[in-house]
């Protein structure tokens, strides 16, 4: 009997891990505190009891090692799902992601491959200590050979994580920690994966396209509702898979509206918004009614908990960018 009660995102992730491990004996879970403790966010609760210490591994406290052994396991055909406790600790594993995981298939011309998943909490807004609120997805999305995924709801977290685990190549799975417990949805535990290369259109509209991902979609959707009251009809796109980017969905939407505002928590310069804006102007320059705008985090270190909300894109800023865009070339 499938689960019918509403679950939050971290529970949906837990459901997906249980499902993947039950369906495929090659799926293993590793990381710090993922065993009997069930993960510091409880994403791996029950796995150790159900699947045993061989498949659910508490590692020593060493992120370089966690990333590196996931590469070795994956090269042997296992599907390791490694957890890094916070995105701010992923950097110790960067050498393995950049120099090995992402290119093992390429540098052996397909003789070996690296079907691993690295899960890590992403983004700020939970009043956590420093190094716990990072949005550095651009560092990862820049690396050829890596897929980068950011879910924004329990259902999408479930389906995208199943897809990430089933994918034959390395996938970075960034879990917006602000959404872990804030939203509940009924998630059918049906083992259905979602596509890894398709944006989701969360709201249809004809005047303005708002593009975002992860936790910032909460403010983006609120802004769309508020703008609707002002008579501005917004389309809202959840990018969900930052790499490879589904340009078609974004371009089709902006082609229709002629206006685009990109919203992300990550710092502005060289952020993923720059890539999306570049794509839009390359393809749609002559049909744009207004310059593409970005509402983003700032090019400063994300402030500690007391002031971090000032760093994150807020509803007012998104609405203002939307209004400016509507004034467009006539302003």
């Amino acid at each position: 009997m499938a689960e019918r009660k509403p679950v939050c995102m971290v529970e949906a992730i837990n459901l997906a891990l249980h499902r993947a491990m039950a369906d495929d004996p090659d799926v293993v879970v590793l990381g710090e505190d993922v065993g009997p403790n069930g993960g510091v966010f409880r994403a791996t609760v029950g796995l150790h009891e159900r699947f045993g210490f061989r498949r659910v591994m508490d590692t020593p406290l060493a992120e370089t090692l966690i990333t590196g052994i996931a590469v070795g396991m994956a090269a042997q055909g296992l599907k390791p799902v490694a957890e890094i406790q916070f995105m701010g600790f992923i950097y110790a594993g960067m050498e393995h992601l950049v120099s090995h995981a992402s290119r093992l298939r390429s540098r052996t011309r397909g003789r070996l491959s690296c079907p691993m998943v690295m899960r890590t909490p992403h983004g700020g807004g939970i009043h956590a200590p420093e190094h716990h609120g990072e949005s550095t997805e651009a560092l990862l999305a820049h690396v050829p050979g890596l897929r980068v995924v950011v879910p924004s709801s329990p259902r999408r977290a479930y389906g995208l994580l199943l897809a990430a685990i089933a994918d034959p190549d390395p996938v970075i799975f960034l879990e917006p920690s602000r959404l872990y417990r804030s939203v509940q949805q009924v998630v059918e535990d049906d083992g259905q994966a979602l596509p890894l290369d398709t944006c989701f259109t969360l709201r249809e509209g004809k005047d303005l396209t708002l593009v975002s991902w992860g936790a910032a979609l909460k403010e983006t959707l609120e802004a769309a509702s508020r703008l609707a009251e002002e008579g501005i009809d917004c389309e809202v796109i959840d990018v969900a898979t930052l790499k490879p980017l589904d340009g078609d969905t974004i371009l089709a939407s902006v082609g229709k509206t002629g206006r685009c505002v990109i919203v992300h928590e990550a710092a502005r310069s060289y952020g993923p918004g720059a890539e999306i804006a570049a794509l839009v102007q390359e393809q749609l320059f002559y049909s744009l009614h207004a310059p593409v705008q970005r509402v983003t985090g700032f090019d400063c270190v994300i402030p500690y908990a007391r002031q971090e909300m000032a760093y994150l894109p807020d509803v007012d800023s998104i609405c203002e960018a939307g209004r400016q865009t509507m004034r467009g070339n006539d302003q």
Binding site: P60, T67, G68, P80, S99, R109, R111, S113, D246
Partner: protein, 363 residues
Amino acid sequence: MPLSVPISYTRYLDDHGQPSGELPGWVDDPQLLLDFHRQMTLVRAFDQKCVALQRTGQIGTYASTLGQEAIGTALGRAMTEADVLIPYYRDTATQLQRGVAMQDILAYWGGDERGSAWTAPGALEDFPICVPIATQACHACGVASAFRIRQQPRVAVTTCGDGATSKGDFLESLNLAGVWQLPVVFVVNNNQWAISVPRSLQSAAPTLAHKALAAGIPGEQVDGNDVLAVYDRISIAIERARAGKGPTLVECVTYRLGDHTTSDDASRYRDADELSEAWKHEPIGRLQRFLHGQGLWDEEKEQQLQRDLGERINAAVEAFRSLPEADPGAAFDHLFAELPERYRQQRDELLIRAAALGGSAHG
């Protein structure tokens, strides 16, 4: 004082090829000894050919294995086909012993990814050469973890140089191997030099094998220029791992007789006297003198061997030279299992750029 913990050092043959004590029983197998000799001689001749090909612009930068022929030959021989090698970048000897073809090794150093796409049945799951220092130690622990998870009686063997033992990857890997009792063997090629930095500036540990002790695993030294000692001790370590008794670190004490790579000039930082002294301990002459003493080798056999190996090497070089240029699109074709549609256009652009270069695409 904890650092006074003794580390064993194994050597069976002295520099003159004389047994320095009782030899292990397997030394009675003359074919094995002759195989070692043949293989080490091949490695040295092939290695010299690689350097010559670099000097004449036919391959790129190459990391010579001169002086370290015994280690790779012995450890490659001690492994079974079921085991997996996770090498570093000075492993020509090990790769050849594992069955990787000379033309594949030439292709790799010649700047062609197909050099790591070998089809040698004994090395199908072996990792390609690892350039980022010590990262391969983590991969070896992952491979060994896979064996543990699947409860397979297989062993992961990883190599590195003395400099790599300073890196966190190496130490984190030792630590994990100990706590998980992984079927992995760490083989350190201590050739005394990490490019220009000598062993004495790398670590205050009395031996590099001591680093195993803090991880709770056995560490030992062998004379890396004595193929009998290396084979004996690594075989024991591999079988120990296979039997579920955990990892071992074997520090093979040797000397880098060549430059770091063909891009290096060791005379800038290394004393000529030290080098000429090191030549007195090199591994091939030592085994040859032992074989002479056993009546297993003579000058005529040596000349015949050199001729045979020369022909094999020349044939491999010819095969490498006649390798058709790779399809430039392969860079995209192997990026993912299936190329996302979004990259199709970039692949086409790459093909156009490559075509514009014409015959000089590889230059």
